[in-house]
């Protein structure tokens, strides 16, 4: 792939314990300061909700006016269910909604020393977003790239802040997951990793640090079986709920692969498979025809009215 080459092998970072004494133990969300969330799509809203429910002030930025207009309503929908599914948030739903400022103007991020970037999984879009961030952020602001397939090192090298750029892969919905996959490129500083660990701790999450290679650990593996599960439906006529039942009841997975694909969004699944196909050159990541045709028909999963399942 010409415009987003993966370089080198895995960058192994030192174990978190070795840095534990450098991390401020008593830091609060207030002291941490407002957190910028760029991208008000499915996962961006989820990250904003998780931050707000855990006591952070959030500046949510999106340059798509339709998505921004829908953000307030969608945020309420996400936040509404959080306390039911994971009790114990320090901030109630109404205050959490009020803690999020939604805007189209990236300049409002100037007060943020930490930004989670959730722009769509396309290289050009990500690169443009990071250039826009360089223009407005404080010099030492940390930018966490929330991605499941974009190379962090390459993106970081397009910015003026390579030592402050790191990957943070939130699973959906973020408020319900107890860990975040962290991709640390070679250029990212100890301080940058420390800020990520502090933020994660305040979100009641563990960090699992992996290298910066295509798909990281999570999606390199999961997207193969999401794709294969769709193929089993297409080629053998197995109903989606039967495929999922095997994973839940036989393997003890919390969710089956097709439920997971619906939750991620089938458009994002196809985009991620495309990125993996380009980055690895491996035809195993070629997304199957069924996934592509469903995306073409607007059947994107839970965020639309149907995917492998229907949603009311």
């Amino acid at each position: 792939m010409a415009d987003a080459p993966w370089t080198g092998a895995m960058d192994v970072s030192p174990a978190a314990e070795e840095r534990a004494d450098e991390v401020s133990v008593e830091e609060t969300p207030d002291a941490f300061g407002p957190v910028g969330v760029v991208g008000a799509g499915e996962i961006g809203l989820g990250v904003a909700a998780d931050l707000a429910l855990n006591g952070f002030r959030v500046v949510l930025v999106d340059n798509d006016s339709a998505r921004l207009a829908a953000a307030a309503t969608n945020l309420v929908k996400v936040i509404r269910f959080a306390p039911m599914l994971r009790p114990g948030f320090p901030t109630g739903p109404a205050s959490a909604v009020a803690a999020v400022t939604a805007t189209a103007d990236p300049a409002e991020l100037a007060s943020c020393r930490f930004v989670v970037e959730n722009v769509t999984e396309r290289w050009q879009a990500k690169r443009e977003a990071h250039r826009a961030l360089d223009a407005v952020l404080p010099e030492d602001a940390v930018v966490a790239v929330n991605t499941s397939s974009i190379p962090i090192s390459e993106l970081a090298s397009e910015t003026v802040r390579a030592e402050h750029v790191i990957g943070m892969h939130f699973m959906n919905p973020p408020y319900l997951t107890s860990a975040v996959e962290v991709m640390r490129p070679a250029a990212a500083s100890e301080r940058t990793l420390g800020r990520v660990e502090t933020l994660a701790r305040l979100l009641r999450k563990k960090t699992i640090v992996v290298g910066d290679f295509p798909g990281f650990v999570s999606n390199r593996i999961s997207h193969l079986f999401l794709n294969e599960a769709a193929r089993v439906v297409a080629e053998h006529g197995v109903p989606p709920k039967i495929v999922d039942q095997v994973f839940r009841d036989c393997f003890g997975h919390r969710m089956g692969p097709l439920q997971t694909a619906d939750l991620i969004g089938l458009d994002t699944v196809v985009d991620t498979l495309d990125r993996l196909r380009e980055a690895t050159g491996d035809p195993r990541f070629e997304s199957c025809e069924l996934l592509r045709s469903m995306v073409g028909e607007g059947r994107l999963g839970r965020k639309s009215t149907s995917g492998f399942y229907t949603y009311e």
Partner: protein, 97 residues
């Protein structure tokens, strides 16, 4: 005091809600045939995320809107609890109307 006839009506209505919810669960997972008092979430029969779909379905089907206080998994723990929660919500909105 409620009349016998009202109580019978209410039990009938609760049974109807339970049937509708049982059918919805069955659509989600063909192997699910819970008894009225079987724990749905605590037993792991359904994933807690399924609560979002269930609540959305109930609000759409019965034209009700749950408040944040209503959204407690205990209110949706079993078919019987779900039916009680729906009926209470319907009664409250009828009273308010």
């Amino acid at each position: 005091m409620r009349k016998r006839k009202d109580i019978e009506m209410s039990e009938l209505a609760q049974g109807a809600v339970q049937q509708v919810v049982a059918a919805f669960l069955n659509k989600h997972d063909a192997g699910l045939h819970p008894a009225p008092d079987d724990e749905l979430f605590a037993s792991g029969a359904v994933n807690s995320l399924f609560a979002i779909e269930l609540v959305g379905f109930l609000e759409f089907r019965y034209g009700i809107k749950f408040t944040v206080d209503d959204l407690d998994l205990n209110n949706f723990a079993s078919l019987r609890r779900i039916a009680e929660t729906v009926r209470a919500k319907q009664a409250a909105s009828a009273g308010a109307a």
